[in-house]
């Protein structure tokens, strides 16, 4: 009887998971393959599919099935499935249908308004829309929070179990260390060489393919295409990645590829038994980002692996004006001075995130209004980066996230980096001869460790549990700071 109820619940959920994977494919197609003229029609597709998915997620039978099953004697996998289904059901039923529909409606047009405002460097043109989006998300947070911290209610959708109070600590500690390190780098006076030639488009893509293979990407269950903003998509046996090609900046192409391979390998390496169940995907945005970041940075931008990459680039492109592996490592890891988050180096990236986190948390808690946002952004940017924002497109208008309603999402980027720092510390301890393998382009020891400790579990454990279990310590920003200190001290002779 109990098993029949569980089977009925899981059959229902399995179809819903399949439909949401279809929704993912539609999104991938939209960014890579869709003809331009199809945009409006595509909007109707997404609306129709989302409404079917929402109906299935709020089906009252789910409540009955859960009530009959919770507290009964079930195995670990079943308990984990119930945990995910309960969270999804509660979230979806707590938000009134008309509010959910209004959020969907407003955010679907807000992105276009944001893009236009950014093009025109005109925050005032975006402000009324952002007010609407913010107000709707505040209402949603109130509906979800049962009187608790409303920011936590939004955060919980991206990083279950994490709270604003805990983030304030973690990210606050991180800021101090990062600012000090960045200031020492600036003070070092060391000038890093730069690339000053163009790199063939097709050869960049060819080397990207090679790099994806080096990091264990399974081509039988994925593919690589180009997109304006690189992303990965899909799960199970269909995990696709994208990258972009700029003639004068091949690292953008290569490290976008490696980053997305990290995301995709997480999905590809989940226990196949979990396919098409709530456990069959990465457990949170933060854990996902920990995988993309450790592939990209701790492994891909290491002295050992960049030595290998230097050789491969010379094989493909000939001499490109960088004298040796040490210089190449410095070029790849150069700490610059810029306004744009997505172009930031490993040291300053999290400072960008901290700024956004601080502002969005205050907005959701009602302590900062949209009318004061631009000024708040500019003054805090100068505080953290030491120079001024020159125009809105380089400041408050640079990211798409808030326009599409993503409040509570930004801090998961920094959590990912913090998790990656913890995992890398443990990985170095456990994997023998890591550097000599990476120097040969062999990541298999490292990626096998990540698969075993993190990736294969999918949604089985809560995010904090899977990370602290794998790293053998509680969540802490310290390993990330220590890693950055060590790495950049070497590069900048600190």
């Amino acid at each position: 009887m109990k098993n029949e109820t569980y089977a009925a619940l899981m059959a229902h959920v399995r179809q819903t998971v399949a439909l949401s994977q279809i929704s993912g494919l539609i999104g991938w197609d939209q960014e890579t393959m869709m003809p331009r003229g199809a945009a409006t029609q595509r909007g109707e597709w997404s609306g129709a599919l989302e409404s079917v998915i929402h109906e299935r997620r709020t089906d009252p039978r789910i409540g009955d099935w859960l009530a009959a099953l919770e507290g009964t004697d079930l195995d670990e996998v079943a308990r984990a499935n119930l945990r995910h289904i309960r969270r999804s059901y509660d979230r979806n039923t707590k938000v009134p249908a008309d509010l959910a529909a209004e959020i969907a409606r407003v955010t679907s047009v807000a992105q276009g308004i944001w893009a236009e405002a950014r093009r025109n460097d005109d925050f005032a043109a975006f402000a009324p829309t952002l007010k609407q989006v913010l107000e709707l998300r505040r209402q949603e947070a109130t509906a979800l929070s049962d009187g608790d911290d409303p920011y936590d209610a939004l955060l919980d959708d991206y990083e279950p179990g994490m709270t604003g109070a805990r983030l304030d600590q973690l990210l606050g500690n991180l800021r101090g260390g990062l600012v000090r390190l960045r200031d020492r780098i600036r003070g070092s006076g060391r000038v890093v060489p730069q690339l000053d030639r163009d790199f063939d488009h097709d050869l960049q893509m060819k080397l990207s393919h090679e790099l994806a293979t080096s990091f264990g990407y399974d081509w039988n269950r994925g593919r690589l295409d180009k997109a304006v903003h690189p992303f990965s998509s899909g799960s199970g046996n269909d995990c696709r990645i994208t990258t972009r090609v700029e003639a004068d900046n091949p690292f953008n192409c290569f490290y976008s590829t490696i980053h997305e391979v990290g995301h995709a390998c997480y999905e590809q390496n989940i226990d196949p038994d979990y396919l098409l169940t709530p456990l069959g995907r990465g457990v949170s945005m933060g854990v996902h980002e920990s995988q993309s970041r450790i592939y990209e940075n701790q492994l891909g931008r290491s002295r050992a692996f960049t030595g290998y990459l230097f050789g491969r680039m010379r094989d493909h492109f000939g001499d490109f004006g960088i004298a040796n592996e040490d210089d190449f490592h410095a070029v790849v890891n150069a700490v610059g001075q810029g306004h744009i988050r997505t172009e930031a180096d490993e040291v300053q990236y999290n400072l960008h995130i901290l700024l956004r986190y601080e502002l969005e948390r205050e907005m959701i808690l009602g302590r900062l209004e949209v009318d004061d946002l631009e000024e708040a952004w500019n003054s805090r940017f100068e505080r953290d980066f030491g120079f001024a924002v020159d125009r809105p497109a380089n400041g408050v208008l640079q990211d798409v996230h808030w326009s599409v309603g993503l409040f509570g999402y930004f801090p998961t980027y920094s959590l990912g980096n913090i998790y990656a720092g913890m995992l890398f510390k443990a990985l170095k301890r456990d994997v023998p001869d890591l550097d000599s393998a990476l120097a040969r382009g062999d990541t298999s020891g490292a990626t096998a460790w990540l698969k075993d400790r993190v990736q294969r579990h999918g949604g089985l454990y809560e995010p904090a549990k899977v990370i602290s279990q794998a790293a053998g310590q509680a969540i802490s920003e310290k390993p990330l700071l220590a890693y950055l200190e060590e790495k950049f001290s070497a590069i900048y002779d600190l």
Copy 2:
């Protein structure tokens, strides 16, 4: 009140149409982009989506809405929508759910069994599966036919309004004319030159792009990719085409492209007001094939257009061993001797279809059993083509259709050719200087005529009506035969 009911019905249907268009995109992706390892997971997606679509198509509210609306005072468009919705609702509700599910289950595995049997030239390995499929489709036909001709019930899904009795006449007349023409060609002794070199892959695709543009394909609402079996897909503002490339047979690439452009332009040219409604797609398989065939054959393989293509091929590939436009026209239209339908020339193609039609009609009516099918195929093939089948892969196992349950589909290919013959006769009368335009690669006069007379109407009229209205005559095989007579008499000096 009436308008509210109609609006409620159409809102429901609009979402269902959107979901079925998503299903189309998934199919396109499967044939062009999907990583190989994703096949099984993809099957679950399709199953989930089809079950949602089926539920929506059999929603009892549709029956209530239809009952309230039918016979009331509605405009032509609304009446046409009701006609489509009624047909779909009746078909979907008449077939018991467990039979529909069983058909889906059996046909989803049957294709693999057929492919394996074809690889091994082993009809006996496929026969048990084909028996199952046939028996299920017979049951479905019985459920649908209300005691009338069961074949008509299946045919009606692909070509509404057409009957087996009418097909027996039309296709019977066609056979006589085609056999006589083919025999005269064989007797003529004229030997057509052949291509004997390879043609660059990328240049074939480049010229394919050019040809699609020449035939009015709108790239803003479509794209061209490669597929093992070329097809077109989508509707409205997202109509995609595929082609294939063989080094020694560029015509396969070019004429597959033009054929699929015919299908896609039909969809692209439908009145945009019909988007996401039952009128927003080609009205039947036969009318669809009439557009692909008239683009490919009557226009694309005409003396005038092949003269233009000859020049473009020489521009792209240099001298490729064909001396002049007349020889080139003969090469493009060569009447050969082969077993395979998809490689057949314009004269013999319909003989392949007639054979299949005859056999499948007898099977559905219970006059021919699967155990006798191979022998029946072989003896009738020899009767119609004058030589023997050498092995099952070149005979009864060559087509996928029956394995996936497509009974009643084959004759729509020949209906498409018959319709194309009728349309071309009228088009030649109405479009001045057609040949001189085609000789410049300009198809705009012809395609504008087709858009105005056929394509823009989408599903507004029944198939026979839209064709006879455009052609100014009742459905008849005579114009097709007359066109073939005239064309091949010139090529083969008959």
